[in-house]
Amino acid sequence: MADSHNTDATKPFNPDTDGFAHEESELESHFQSKHMVINMGPSHPATHGTVRLKVELEGETIVKIDPEIGFLHRGFQKSCENVTWTQCLPYTDRLNYLSAMMNNFGFLNAVEKLIGLEIPERAQYIRVIGSELHRLTDHLTCVGATGLEMGGFAPFLYGMEARELLQDRVTELTGARLTTSFGRVGGINRDLPEGWIAKVHKTLTRTEELLQEMDGLLTRNRIFVDRTKGTGIISAADAIDYGWTGPALRACGVDHDLRKTHPYWVYERFDFESVVGEHGDNYDRYLVRLEEMRQSIRILRQAMDTIPAGPIIVDDWRIALPPKPEVYGTIEGVMAHFKLVMEGIQVPPGEVYDATEASNGELGWYLVSDGRGRPYKVHVRAPGFPVLAALPHIIQGKMLADLVPTFDTINMIGGEVEQ
């Protein structure tokens, strides 16, 4: 390998010919390895989203890697700061296209904390159900794509089948497949459709079967294990220093799950375990996600069995839109409706930081209100951002082939990282 290196800096170096042309026998020389820069992405099949990785290679070893994320930047913050609080919801949906409801509810949770609002119990249950459904779809996509990029197409198809089934349920619940905009400040938009819970139970049974299939195909597969076990390792201390959260941090052996440590909504009523790994490598991150899906199914079943009857949104016309008969029949209803739509919810001035456990980790919202109908400042702490920031630290000095599983299992989501 060393013979391709031109140590003499004064001589111009042609990487294509030098170091080999003068070899006595090219057949006996080492495999041609030269210093080269390759661009992975944007829109490379192995880089999800539109991230561009500038990789400097020495042979097959990665010498330097520079992730460049600015390709999709949509001005999320600026957009939010120029519309009312409720109008932010569609923007939050698009942060993570696979778990729209989680982003949506996380944002609303922060707004409600800023107002000091307690939402009805049934709404809390529905938020838990929606979040866990989307945690399933998100993890299924990640695990399936990991299998796909390790060369296995079947696990991906199983994952997609389960995901599509779940997304059909999401569609029945919210009316939209990906960008749901299902939450409202003070509750949620609509109640559960009739017969929906029984359908979800059936879907979950099928999902469990498909998970079993994926588990059987991947977990002890020689190729998969060889490529993921012991690659992409990060120590727990480094992961914490970089600000990792969620399954990626738990795979390092740190038991940190906001659903357990800071229970929000009704999470403390459910019996589930936070899944913890050991080594912090790709294989552990995969296993943690797989087990977390089973825990999500447990939560879903418990939530659907114990969901109480009651209102789904607060009865306060300064926050939630009045019921339609009131709007059409009374002057107070018309006025409340008009003021809410035209001016937005009057959130008292102040600031709040609130975080929920999204599928990839801590989704934090720092909101500043100046007392008018629009947010003054919306800062989103996207879980994928610190994870991607640590990628050079993990992968430098390792092989190019390790980059693909590492990039898969950290599950960076373009929408939230690029804001």
């Binding site: 994320i69 913050q77 600000g243 940190h256 500043v368 800062h379 702490r381 610190p386």
Partner: protein, 172 residues
């Protein structure tokens, strides 16, 4: 925050606990690395997990002097507690000592704040734009940056969209 105030009495300019129970303190800029190191290294406080960092442009707020506020979000796994460190800097000299040496996670978040608000982090190892391209003029999340201002790298085709509009550089 009581511990911090006891340890560094001159560093803390203002302390507050907001309605949701979140504790924050405004630190004088020159003290920031010391306070952050203390928060991270003190075994009782143990604020090791770097949450994020961002800036707030306080141009239109009631109290808007100094103009920028840089906020650091830290989390302690053992105390299960979030905390916010704030530094306020003026428009003419938006300079803060960087925390990238204390927390590795600070590196990218500080680049983000530099990109969007033009805050200069002194001693930052790699202060470049992170989401926008190098040639971009100005800092788009500042409140005085126009919402519809556009700086395309490739000239945009004029599109007549009266609802969304192509921005200022499209149809006259």
């Amino acid at each position: 925050m009581d511990r911090v105030a006891a340890q560094f009495p001159e560093a803390v300019a203002e302390r507050y606990v907001d309605r949701a129970g979140g504790a924050w303190a405004v630190i004088h800029a020159e003290w920031l690395p010391k306070v952050a190191t203390f928060l991270k290294m003190d075994p009782e406080l143990d604020f090791k997990l770097f949450g994020s960092a961002d800036a707030v442009d306080r141009l239109h707020l009631a109290e808007n002097d100094p103009r920028f506020e840089i906020v650091y979000f830290l989390y302690s796994l053992s105390r299960k507690e979030h905390v916010r460190l704030k530094v306020r800097v003026t428009e003419t000299r938006p300079e803060v000592p960087s925390l990238a040496a204390v927390y590795r996670g600070a590196n990218w978040w500080e680049r983000l704040a530099f990109d969007f608000y033009g805050i200069r982090f002194v001693d930052h190892p790699d202060l470049r734009r992170i989401l926008l391209y190098e040639e971009f003029q100005g800092h788009p999340l500042r409140k005085d940056y126009a919402l519809r201002d556009r700086q395309p790298l490739i000239p945009e085709r004029p599109i007549k969209d009266i609802f969304r509009g192509p921005g200022t550089s499209g149809v006259a």
